[in-house]
């Protein structure tokens, strides 16, 4: 089941395996507002209104519950269906689309009423955990529910809460919200139910078609609920696969160049909740479950960064870390820039005026900087457009550094399956082209020199920073292998590489740059560089590259066996308990304490990993269970609820609450929204996407003639009905406008972008690929100019997959 993704177009080689599965009898279902190249080869294509996925998935959840199609053994033993929820919890059914704990004043939820019965409240571990401004326990108070009801009958048990919550997501409602005919919906429901259970599994694939919404995280949560109910998590051929769009975008999340995280998903230091290292560890160390290990990872990171200077006495220099006290994510950062609060900006291989949202505001922000550094293959739109228009008015200095290509440097990419692969340097970079590794190392050396004499406490971290990486070659390129070795971790005493995160300690005896990557260089071998041919190893291919954690290819794979540790079925055999050997074994590295018998039941008061029962597969969770209901971790509700996008032409048919109440808005004159549903100014739904022939902002494809000739111009896709209604000529020009601005594109009239029929009437949709910009061999307007600053509260990802727009024949008037 592919939804929120156009896999065939955006991941063609990944799609190879979907076609392989299809050849072996698998059914491919594609749910998408457009008929894409994925739909073209799918067994079932379901067009739905952009931005209505939760209603559709919610409908499937209800169908599975009401038709009794859920996988009982799996649900009872592996999910929190039996857990009892706090008496204070109130559902959207009771509160007109809001959950209990909503504070209209602050515009935030107080999630304490969402907790398990008997479990203390805790602030969400989501990235804006400090947004409420309240210091408090994060993971530390996570623990098992005090009461459960394995019969799933108790009115407050998760299963019953779930049933009540999704009761109104009927096929009729799905038809009304999504525009999906009842018959088609039932066909999908039957297909996934028929392909789930002991013998078969269903996999979900999604991409930014799900994430780029003001309620994006809950899209994925709904899929998680579905997959847990059907028993499709932790099993081969199951799961929910995020199809990520860039070579190492997973890597830049694991080793986050993200403001709120430290490597390995450790939270950043929080200003409000500060109390030194002790408080930090206390708040983040779970009582039960794997996160009990937290201190080992945090202290090892500090040792890796500050080396000998980091000691138990000085809290391993934890206090030298900067603290965050709110949302400093991309849009917040650019807004601050536009307000003149930022002086210097580094853009490394990123082109936000085309690739991000609201190019106009992005350029305005760049104009307010003292200086900006851009590193790329060629001068990008972000490096030039903002000052080209009126150079005499723009003071910003711009440094353009040419970068080295992946063929000109060693290093690892982490792909969408968490697989680290080493790419070897083939040739030296030309001229002044250098790797980012080179840039950072030598910038660091210079800054260390500039601050060498300082006695100021603020410079302590920089001075203590371990930065003596060996360099190679004529250009003093840092040895990437040495950096990877630090990421893997080593024993401080003798510098020997650790074999994995199991060897890390909280006493400063080990250093590790990213605990989840620990083991990638076990025994000094470069794991990511392993290349045993596919033909010479098992189908799981454990000897190709290295997957985090612990070279595990399938997470939570203990769930591929039943509570007694036997495979659910022979067809789906993956990891199982070997009674004779007294350990877990199988095709993959077991994602479970390897010697923990299925029969193991934790003693009362057990803590940490010891508290995970032998039949509790989800070891990262405090209760070892898959969460149908999220007692904490989210800012916009413990259960998914359909809300309309920030900009929608219709009113929410499900609840009086129109939009996600907790969404992030940037209310400023330079970021107008189009609010009123039914406002005639922008009557159509606009959705944006990629094409196979180009790559994101186009800097890596529009210069390439072999790609540019395949998709030479920006075009908009409209239905014949809309074309007729607005007098759009096929192949002619159209101007597409939103509350922000207008762009022009060639018109491609096609039935592939259908008008959606709802009870209220017809909703026309406009499709726009976003690859074009003002530079390159082929040029055109950038679709993202149209998109505003508005985001999902949990992850601050913008909403670019569903907004409102108007379209008219002819070219736009304003100059680019």
């Amino acid at each position: 089941m592919i939804q929120g993704s156009n896999m065939a177009e955006c991941h063609p080689v990944g799609f190879r395996w979907v076609m392989e599965a299809k050849a072996r009898g698998a059914k491919v279902v594609h749910v998408d507002p457009r008929f894409t190249r994925t739909s073209a080869v799918a067994d079932l294509h379901v067009p739905l209104r952009a931005g209505s996925d939760i209603a559709f998935l919610g409908g499937l959840v209800r169908y599975i519950l009401e038709e009794d199609r859920w996988f009982r053994d799996y649900v009872v033993h592996y999910t929190n269906a039996a857990a009892l929820v706090s008496e204070d919890f109130r559902d959207t059914e009771e509160l007109d689309g809001l959950f209990s704990g909503w504070d209209a004043e602050s515009g935030h939820y107080d999630p304490s009423s969402w907790a398990y019965e008997g479990a203390p409240a805790s602030v969400p571990t989501a990235h804006r955990e400090t947004a409420t401004g309240q210091p408090g326990p994060e993971r530390s108070k996570h623990r098992k529910p005090s009461r459960t009801d394995p019969t799933l009958q108790h009115p407050r048990c998760v299963f019953q809460v779930l049933r009540r919550h999704f009761a109104r997501y009927t096929p009729e409602m799905v038809e009304e919200v999504c525009g999906v005919p009842r018959a088609l919906f039932l066909r999908v429901a039957e297909t996934i139910c028929a392909n789930s259970g002991r013998e078969r599994t269903t996999a979900f694939c999604y991409a930014v078609g799900w994430t780029q919404h003001t309620i994006g995280v809950q899209y994925i949560r709904t899929a998680a609920i579905l997959q847990l109910l059907l028993g499709n998590v932790g099993r081969p051929g199951g799961g929910i696969l995020a199809l990520r769009g860039h070579a190492s975008i997973q890597g830049s999340t694991d080793i986050p160049t993200l403001y709120n995280l430290l490597p390995g998903y450790l939270p950043m230091r929080k200003a409000q909740a500060d109390g030194g290292l002790a408080a930090y560890l206390e708040r983040n160390t779970a009582e039960t479950g794997w996160w009990h290990e937290f201190p080992k990872y945090a202290v090892s990171l500090l040792k890796a960064w500050f080396g000998a200077a980091a000691t138990a006495v000085n809290d391993y220099l934890f206090d030298a870390l900067p603290a965050i006290d709110g949302d400093h994510s991309h849009m917040a950062m650019v807004a601050a820039m536009a307000d003149g609060k930022v002086k210097g900006y580094f853009l490394m291989g990123e082109n936000p005026t085309v690739g991000s949202m609201h190019g106009g505001l992005q350029r305005a922000a760049l104009r307010k900087l003292d200086w900006v550094v851009v590193r790329d293959f060629a001068v990008t739109e972000s490096a030039e457009d903002f000052w080209r228009e009126a150079p005499e008015e723009v003071e910003t200095e711009v440094f353009f550094f040419p970068c080295a290509a992946h063929t000109e440097k060693d290093g690892t990419f982490t792909n969408t399956q968490r697989l680290l692969q080493w790419h070897h340097k083939a040739v030296e970079p030309p001229g002044d082209c250098r790797s980012e590794l080179h840039f950072m190392l030598h910038l660091g050396r210079r800054l260390k020199a500039l601050y060498a004499g300082s006695t100021d406490a603020k410079d302590r971290a920089l001075q203590a920073l371990t930065w003596d990486y060996p360099t190679v070659g004529p250009y003093e390129e840092p040895d990437a292998a040495a950096v990877l070795a630090e990421i893997n971790g080593y024993r401080v005493a003798d510098g020997a590489p650790v074999a994995g995160f199991g060897e890390l300690a909280a006493d400063g005896s080990t250093a590790c740059g990213c605990w989840i990557y620990s083991g990638c260089c076990a025994g000094g071998e470069n794991g990511p560089a392993r290349r045993r041919p596919a033909g010479e190893q098992s189908w799981v291919a454990p000897d190709w590259g290295w997957a985090w954690p612990a070279n595990r290819r399938l997470l939570y794979n203990r769930a591929s066996a039943d509570p007694e540790g036997r495979p659910w079925s022979e067809r789906k055999r993956y990891v199982w308990w070997d009674e004779a050997a007294g350990r877990w074994t199988g095709h993959d590295a077991p994602d479970f304490p390897v010697d923990r018998a299925p029969s193991y039941r934790p003693p009362r008061g057990a803590r940490g990993v010891a508290a995970i029962g032998g039949a509790d597969p989800f070891v990262m969770q405090s209760d070892g269970r898959g969460w149908l209901f999220a007692p904490n971790g989210l800012l916009d509700g413990p259960l998914p609820t359909h809300y309309e996008p920030q900009e929608s032409p219709i009113e929410n048919p499900l609840y009086p609450q129109q939009r996600n109440p907790a969404r992030l808005e940037w209310r400023r004159r330079d970021n107008p929204y189009h609010r009123a549903a039914g406002d005639p100014r922008y009557p159509y739904v606009l959705t944006t996407y990629r094409l196979t022939e180009h790559h994101t902002a186009g800097a890596m494809s529009r210069w390439l003639s072999w790609l540019a000739e395949l998709q030479p111009e920006l075009f908009c896709e409209v239905s014949p009905e809309l074309a007729a209604e607005k007098g759009l000529a096929h192949g002619g020009w159209a101007t597409i406008s939103t509350a922000r601005t207008a762009i022009e594109a060639r018109v491609l009239v096609t039935r592939r972008l259908p008008a959606i029929r709802l009870k209220g009437g017809v909703v026309h949709q406009i499709g726009l690929p976003y690859h074009w910009g003002s530079k390159g061999r082929v040029r055109g307007d950038a679709a993202n100019e149209l998109i505003g600053f508005v985001a999902d509260p949990n992850v601050s990802i913008q909403e670019s997959k569903a907004l409102t727009a108007d379209i008219a024949p002819g070219r736009r008037s304003r100059s680019a």
Partner: protein, 192 residues
């Protein structure tokens, strides 16, 4: 020209070969030229083959990079990869043009305040200028504590946005150095 030479030339004349072989159609053999006889894949002339990974999407297809005279002659799929089995998508297949293309800039460019065009400046000088500016911005915008007490120990005067084609090692150094400098506005395509 000596008669022998003439005979030699004549014998190399395809028509002569036709007569010799009794080939009256000339659809194959005799029509072959010396160049055709010598034809071979250019990859056989490569000095080395380097294993790499496609820099576009996150599938992570294996690539083989062929190098001859320190220049790339071909980039194609790696048949050994369990992920891609030698396949590439159009973008992956165009990687050769991405890394060898004439669009690549090879010098550092600088645009000064109110400048109307780019000027080329030396790499080392540019690095020095950036380092000085980082220090200046940091000094000017350092926040030790928030008005209501909590420690901040940071600068909001610097920001970073990274693409998602950076290596893990590069992200690691970016996060490590900037965090040590007190920069918190460190962001990435990963959020976009």
């Amino acid at each position: 020209m000596a008669p022998s030479k003439i005979l030699d030339a004549l014998s190399r004349w395809p028509v002569a070969r036709q007569l010799r072989d009794g080939d009256w159609t000339a659809l194959a053999g005799p029509a072959r030229s010396p160049r055709t006889e010598a034809l071979a894949p250019r990859t056989e002339r490569a000095d080395r083959v380097v294993r790499s990974v496609c820099p576009y999407c996150a599938v992570g297809c294996g690539q083989l990079v062929y190098v001859q005279d320190e220049r790339i002659t071909d980039i194609e799929g790696d048949p050994d990869s369990p992920i891609s089995r030698g396949c590439l998508c159009p973008k992956g297949a165009a990687t050769f043009q991405l890394v060898t293309g004439s669009h690549r800039v090879k010098t550092v460019l600088y645009r000064g305040p109110y400048g109307t065009s780019w000027e080329t400046i030396p790499l080392e000088r540019a690095m020095d200028m950036v380092a000085e500016r980082v220090k200046a911005a940091r000094e000017a915008t350092w926040e030790e504590r928030r008005a209501d007490g909590p420690p901040l120990h940071r600068t909001m005067g610097l920001a970073h946005l990274g693409g998602a084609t950076l290596d893990d090692e590069e992200n690691y150094l970016i996060k490590k150095l900037f965090t040590a400098l007190g920069v918190v506005q460190i962001e990435n395509q990963a959020r976009i």
